[in-house]
């Protein structure tokens, strides 16, 4: 059957009420009654359809708004905060950086290639509809395990998601420069695909999605509307079930080539200075873009749906309002500029059609062949969705996992056991090199990528400037699961630390909250606790949240996914020569551990990968210490005292050192002292730690900076040779050829992924 059966007859308003047709669209009884109040009558089919998508979680944030209210959103550099397509942050000289993250989890579960591809397309539109030129893409991905023979479906999802991201980003010519990937049982059946886009803009060009100026024409641009993804927004706001299979036509196919044309044409249009308001058609398509643009201006809008370019014959107003066909935009100009606007799109061979006008009555009026088929109050659809303060309950698992003694595992003693554990960790798919992934992405196009994927953060040079932008996405959901508050703090702290490791000053955050069903009190507790932690960290680290996305109802047969907040962060490097990398640079350089190592093995990679346990209290972040450490490190980097810097995260100190050695193609001979047990010292995942290297003659000056800041340091030894050798408290601990470590780290994912071919 096609998406909508030709013979389907739309139910009447009374039938909708009597048969509770609204319930199938995700509207509750209470919401339906409220809608009838706003309308002053029972809504017809297209009207209830409009309400249902606008009042879905995806568009209204009805469950998450109280959570989002916790985040700090102001800062001296913030030019546009949450609410617009994307946030905007000043980087000086009249320029600004624009960025946002979006999820495409459910579509990717159903059709991984197209789901991921259209996710990329959507986030790009958010950026260029602000008037910004997209300069970089990142992604944060979660899948079930891939390493066992029976994980074929997870390998398929992983492979196709990566190809979908590549297919779209490469074609449109925006480099995909970074990301993170985690494989964990928790994501079986519900993978996560979050995509972030970063753009660059001149202050003067910043656009808003407002339908100002009563009487102004409203233009539709981009490819024709088809019956794609009808009810996609509602779909994203429901749990995945067997029935979702039946909703398969909700999957949309992306056309990156069309989007490239739309992007160039829109940027040209914006450059011309005639745009009054512009917005992309994302989730809930024409409905959301028209209603939001009208609402922001306090106006109304009249749309003539028969003028909308259509891909299929006989499309109904309902289908046109709810279609999520990709690569489409809506914009408003003054009547005298209409011709100029149309000429631009003509040059790019794109349809650009006058589909309506701005009105003063606050109504969204839908016309079809001269007949009024819908008449809705704009404010009610956009702003009056009820907000739910959901019940909160601490889940039973929390006490249990907190009580587990993470230090009780048998001690790994001696060179062989410790080096073996390191090799195991390096070849765990979550920690292993993601080269297999990022070599499928064109990370070089636009010739500004001065730090390619593989380091702590990607760095993109600003054209015709000495500045550069560092960008990263991070989030350790196992830690968030074990302690949402601490995990939330840690996610923000880690993202900022990654930026600082490249020599960048963290500017601001975009976040993606991927959680289970918020109607479950334990899930809402996770949301609440983790957001509290994130908010505190953003406050202390002076990185306001300028936008984000919420993806709830991520559940599979065994319950909710791990609570997965993903932090996207962008930082500024004032002078490109100050950029640092994670790899060791020169033989003789001194290797220094910055920060304090505590016996924090709860939720660690060591426990998960070597002992098969995923419990215990995760590391705690002291935000004041984190902040001091980051500032001291940044100061040292800016003074030219740091040769390389790499943060300690998954797998702790041992993995961080190994990665610096592999990246630099050089070994090191190191020796540490500690009060901890040797294996705890090497694999603890305590926060606020970084492994740096420095020229011998600069070590003293460098250490003084940290000492003044009250940050602990320990000089471990020197870079050099082709082996990584490390003693702990005088006893041999790590001993391996760099080539061997590299093979483990680089070879893990390719060898797993060649299995099915």
């Amino acid at each position: 059957m096609s998406a909508v059966d030709e013979k389907f007859r739309e139910p009447t308003p009374d039938e909708i009420a009597e048969h509770k047709v609204y319930a199938e669209m995700g509207v509750s009884d209470g919401e339906y009654d409220l809608i009838c109040d706003f309308m002053g009558r029972r809504p017809n089919y297209v009207e209830i359809g409009v309400f249902s998508v606008m009042w879905s979680e995806h568009c209204s944030y009805k469950n998450s708004r109280p959570i989002l209210a916790k985040f700090p959103i102001d800062g001296p550099r913030v030019l546009v905060g949450p609410g617009e397509g994307a946030g905007v942050v000043d980087i000086g000289d009249g320029q600004a950086v624009v960025f946002k993250i979006e999820s495409h989890n459910h579509p990717s579960a159903i059709e991984p290639f197209q789901g991921a591809a259209t996710g990329v397309g959507g986030i790009l539109r958010d950026i260029f509809s602000m008037g910004a030129r997209p300069i970089g893409l990142l992604n944060s991905l979660r899948f079930g395990p891939i390493h066992r023979p029976e994980d074929r479906h997870n390998r398929y999802l992983f492979e196709r998601v990566v190809e979908g991201i590549a297919g779209y980003g490469n074609c449109i010519g925006v480099p995909t420069v970074g990301g993170e990937i985690v494989f964990d049982e928790s994501y079986n059946g519900n993978p996560l695909v979050n995509v972030m886009c970063v753009g660059l803009i001149d202050h003067d060009d910043i656009q808003k999605g407002v339908a100002d100026g009563v009487g102004n024409p409203v233009f539709y641009v981009g490819p024709a509307t088809g019956r794609d993804g009808i009810h996609g927004a509602t779909f994203a706001s429901e749990e995945l079930t067997e029935e979702s299979e039946a909703k398969r036509p909700a999957v949309q196919v992306g056309d990156p080539f069309k989007e490239k044309l739309v992007m160039e044409a829109c940027l040209e249009l914006i450059e011309s200075g005639i745009v009054v308001g512009i917005q992309d058609m994302g989730a809930a398509g024409l409905t959301c873009s028209s209603a939001e643009m009208a609402s922001k201006a306090g106006n109304g809008m009249e749309l003539h749906l028969d003028r909308v370019p259509q891909r299929a014959a006989g499309m109904t107003p309902y289908e046109m309002m709810l279609s999520e066909s990709q690569e489409r935009m809506l914009f408003v100009v003054k009547p005298e500029h209409a011709e100029q606007a149309q000429a631009i799109f003509e040059k790019w061979d794109l349809p650009c059609v006058d589909v309506g006008s701005v009105t003063d009555d606050g109504r969204l009026r839908l016309m079809h062949h001269g007949e009024e088929v819908g008449d809705l109050p704009v404010r009610a659809i956009v702003d009056e969705c009820p907000i739910y303060e959901r019940a909160i309950e601490e889940p039973a698992y929390f006490r249990e996992v907190q009580a587990a003694d993470a230090l009780s595992d048998p001690e790994l003693k001696g060179e062989e056991a410790l080096t073996g554990a390191l090799e195991t960790l390096l070849s765990a798919p979550t920690i292993a090199s993601k080269r297999w992934v990022f070599e499928q992405f064109d990370y070089m196009v636009r010739t500004n990528t001065i730090q390619a994927p593989g380091g702590d953060a990607a760095v993109i040079a600003v054209t015709d400037s000495d500045k550069a932008l560092a960008m990263t996405v991070d989030g350790n959901s196992r830690h968030v699961y074990l302690d949402p508050y601490e995990g939330g703090k840690a996610a923000v702290a880690e993202a900022a630390r990654n930026l600082v490791c490249t020599g960048a000053e963290p500017l601001a955050v975009t976040d993606n909250l991927n959680y289970g069903n918020p109607e479950k009190p334990e899930v809402y507790w996770q949301l609440h606790r983790s957001a509290t932690g994130m908010a505190e960290a953003c406050e202390v680290l002076s990185t306001p949240v300028i936008g984000g996305n919420v993806s709830l109802y991520n559940e599979h047969t065994e319950g909710a996914i791990y609570p997965t907040p993903v932090i996207g962060m962008v930082g500024l490097i004032e002078h490109q020569k100050e950029m640092t990398r994670s790899g060791f640079v020169e033989a003789g350089d001194q290797v220094i551990l910055v920060g304090e190592t505590k016996p924090e093995l709860g939720g660690s990679s060591l426990r998960a990968e070597v002992f098969g346990k995923r419990d215990g209290a995760p590391p705690k972040v002291d935000l004041e210490v984190e902040s001091k450490m980051q500032q001291a490190l940044l100061a040292a980097i800016r003074k030219g005292l740091v040769q390389s810097a790499h943060d300690c995260s998954d797998g702790g100190l041992a993995v961080a050192i190994a990665e610096s050695a592999i990246a630099g193609g050089q070994g090191a001979t190191l020796s540490a002292t500690t009060e901890l047990r040797g294996d705890h010292f090497l694999f603890s995942e305590s926060a606020s730690r970084v492994v740096i290297s420095a020229k011998e003659e600069q070590v003293e000056e460098l250490l003084a900076i940290f000492e003044d800041a009250g940050v602990m340091t320990q000089v471990l030894g020197a870079v050099g040779g082709d082996k990584l050798e490390m003693k702990v408290n005088g006893a041999a601990a790590l001993n391996s050829q760099i080539e061997v470590l590299k093979d483990r780290w680089e070879g893990a994912i390719p060898s797993i992924m060649s299995r099915d071919h």
Binding site: E163, A166, G167, N170, C171, I172, G173, D255, P256, F257, K258, K260, L261, W348, D349, F438, E439, Q440, F441, D442, Y443, M444, V445, R446, T447, T449, I450, A452, A461, Q576
Partner: protein, 227 residues
């Protein structure tokens, strides 16, 4: 000298090519839109990479019929210097300005990475800045770079010395490790690797600079000859 960078719908390395040419070659660089029909003003024409027409059907197959390609053919016949990079190379193949065809990479996957090339001929107008046999670093980024020609054609290419660049470590399965070829007359070069992405050390390599310098030097020599 005057340079042109062609722009097709879906080209995405046009800006990078303009920047590289501006950086290395003295003189104007224009972007020339695919609907234009006149290239007579230009000494050097770059057909840049990207996904012209989405690379739907076959890469380069649709772009090859753009109005501008007609004058590109004329420019080629007139001995103008033409460089096709990546998708540009594919367009030149589809247009028949160079022999052979592209298949999807052996891995079926897009591959983007730094790549080592051996310069097979240091005497073409594109390569006088290199030594024959020199190994240079120029990145690749493509999904359909698996060059194919039949055996007879390959023999012709080899006999005429038309293979200009070869991969040291073949990333896509191309016959005879071919990374770049020229036409018989020597004025048209097609290559999958991106020299315009190797023009600053900060990008990982600046080995591409000498390719553009060679082109500029050739133009200067021709000018002198005329004078």
């Amino acid at each position: 000298m005057k340079s042109a960078v062609l722009v097709f719908p879906g080209s995405n390395c046009d800006t990078d090519c303009v920047r590289a040419v501006e950086q290395v070659i003295e003189g104007d660089v224009d972007r020339v839109w695919h609907k234009d029909e006149d290239l007579s003003a230009y000494d050097f024409i770059v057909v840049p990479g990207g996904f012209s027409y989405g690379d739907y059907l076959r890469s380069g197959a649709i772009a090859r019929f753009s109005p501008i390609v007609k004058s590109l053919e004329e420019a080629a016949a007139a001995g103008k210097t033409i460089l096709g990079i990546c998708n540009g190379f594919q367009i030149l193949l589809e247009a028949g300005l160079l022999p052979g065809a592209m298949r999807v990479n052996q891995s079926l996957k897009f591959v983007c990475k730094p790549c080592k090339l051996r310069v097979e001929d240091g005497s073409t107008r594109f390569t006088t800045g290199y030594e024959k046999g020199e190994i240079i670093d120029i990145p690749v980024a493509h999904q359909e770079g698996n060059y194919y020609c039949d055996e007879a054609e390959l023999r012709r290419l080899e006999d005429n010395g038309q293979v200009v660049f070869r991969y040291v470590d073949n990333p896509n399965g191309s016959v005879a490790d071919i990374a770049g070829i020229r036409n018989k007359a020597g004025n048209v070069l097609g290559m999958m690797p991106h020299p315009e992405r190797a023009v600053r050390d900060a990008l990982g390599s600046s080995d591409g600079v000498r390719l553009f310098e060679s082109v500029a030097r050739y133009a200067l020599d021709v000018q002198k000859e005329f004078a």
